[in-house]
Symmetry: C2
Subunit: 337 residues, 2 copies
Amino acid sequence: MLDERKATILRAVVTEYIETAQPVGSGHVASSSEINVSSATVRNDMATLEAEGYLAQPHTSAGRIPTEKGYRFFVDQLGGPGKLGATESQQVRSFFSRTHGEMEQMLSDTSRLLSSLTHYAAVVVGPQLEVATIKSIQLVSLSARIVLVVVVLSNGSIEKHTLELAADTEDLVINCADLRLSSLIVGQTLAGVSSLDLNAAVLGEPEDVSIIIRTALTELRGGHRHDDQVFIGGTSDMAASFDAVRTVSEILRILEQQLVVVSLLEDVLDRGLSVAIGRETGNEALADCSIVVAPYIVDGETAGSIGVLGPTRMHYDQALSAVAVVANRLGHTLSEG
Amino acid sequence: MLDERKATILRAVVTEYIETAQPVGSGHVASSSEINVSSATVRNDMATLEAEGYLAQPHTSAGRIPTEKGYRFFVDQLGGPGKLGATESQQVRSFFSRTHGEMEQMLSDTSRLLSSLTHYAAVVVGPQLEVATIKSIQLVSLSARIVLVVVVLSNGSIEKHTLELAADTEDLVINCADLRLSSLIVGQTLAGVSSLDLNAAVLGEPEDVSIIIRTALTELRGGHRHDDQVFIGGTSDMAASFDAVRTVSEILRILEQQLVVVSLLEDVLDRGLSVAIGRETGNEALADCSIVVAPYIVDGETAGSIGVLGPTRMHYDQALSAVAVVANRLGHTLSEG
DNA sequence: GCAAGCAGTCGAAGGGTGAGAGTGCCAGCC
DNA sequence: GGCTGGCACTCTCACCCTTCGACTGCTTGC
């Protein structure tokens, strides 16, 4: 454990470095903070902090910069109360009072809000489809052999699948299939659909009807990719906070793989963290990044998660409070609907 | 007009600069191409090319780099046949033989394909909703006061809007509204819906039904943002081809505004171009970028457009052929469905 | 009209220097 | 024992200077 003065010094180094991105020297710390000791004393403590792995020196005659361990201690022990500024709170309030309607739209706008609050990249992961119940299923014939299966879920999202039939099919047949499907799966969850007995489902139906039912159910069991459930905003802000194009490009490559992003956030939450610093993210390409993440709760259950991704030298307190506030408000807003 | 030798020299400079990103000197041109004159002669011609605005010199003793006018001439007059490599054609073929089903998914995958072919950012703009006809409309009650309006369009896409009703409403009422709406707007286009007479639409319906119909129609008239109809991929590739973080960040800022992207592409196409170079894009922030764009045709009509965005020193021939091939195949694939 | 040669220009690269920021350590003081 | 002032040392950065090399433009001759 660090004694109080060392902790204060560490805090000073971290905040200063976050602000300026320059190595911080003992003189700066001694003069600019609530420390009332000389720079020589600070130097001694900084040497200790370095020996214990909280700080590092780019080269001999430079100041210190925080290590991941240093940031971690800062986040865990030294984190300020982290309140949002007045402008930001106002922005959040007005956003959530204005927003309504489409969930996808709302989540996408939320990612914009979050990035505009923090000036980092924001990630919003939508509710898992699996837990929602099916409110309606409808077959719509688009052309002679193409049928669209539209499933409306209780959380307002929609699953759709295109079926290509082997033979031209009359509307009557499609209607029959529609009715049977409705009675079968309305009220169930998508997970429930996956455990349906296909043969029992088509029992007693004529061949042409049952083939549609089979095809539709098979489609529904198959892929609900998380794909369209991830919303990313503020990549330009994120880019601006790094100084190597190489780094930016690698981070963008990660963000383009939505599945990776989702599991990244889940992974962090699973480890019980709300902040992952550098390599803690579990991804080598994000060694210079940190992630701040929080789940949001809809109707008492964790529905999804939101997070921001920025440089390791991010404003953790601001990011933490922004993420917390937005997750909270988002959960409330979605619960009402 | 340029005589043949000057044109050859210009081509050599452009291709060399695209390859190396270094200013090209007269010696390089004289030795490395089908030019059989001395470097001194090349120098004279290059001086002329510079005077006429095709080339520029970063500083006195450097080689030349192409100006926008130079690239423009290169693209218009000197463009090679531009065939896709074997690997790339194979990639396109296998993509379109594999792909099927959801349009959104397909368009999103297409943007990935295009960026992987060209190594630049790829933009895919989905079909305009306005021209599609309505195949079905359905009201789904999510909770006592929340109703989801689901509209299925003939091209397989879905519009959905959430209605928040002032009072709890029975299913029976909703069903009535559903029926009336179906008979009113199925077969119409969304544009048609916008010109419906609201009062005539609710004629003879009881108050509680007509209020739902009014609300639903008003919603449908209102916002179909292009929003979810733009798919962008390959931003990491794009980033890697610039060397200033600043530039990358500005470009990302543009790409984040989907509406801007759509009108950017439309604007280029409207001017009858398939390539916009530097400032020709009409956006100051894209001064270092070029855009290659092509419309795709579904069932004989222009449905949307695809494009790539890269540095002005992009491989125009490859980009042009990739965009052309993909637009073509995409149109065909969507026409079948 | 082309080629050869030559002088001139300018940036990039390399080396040397001085300033500045910072460190570590030691001796002394409270 | 812990803190401080002082001092020697280190290493980067900015600057200057020089050299090198890659070009160009121009002039002259074929």
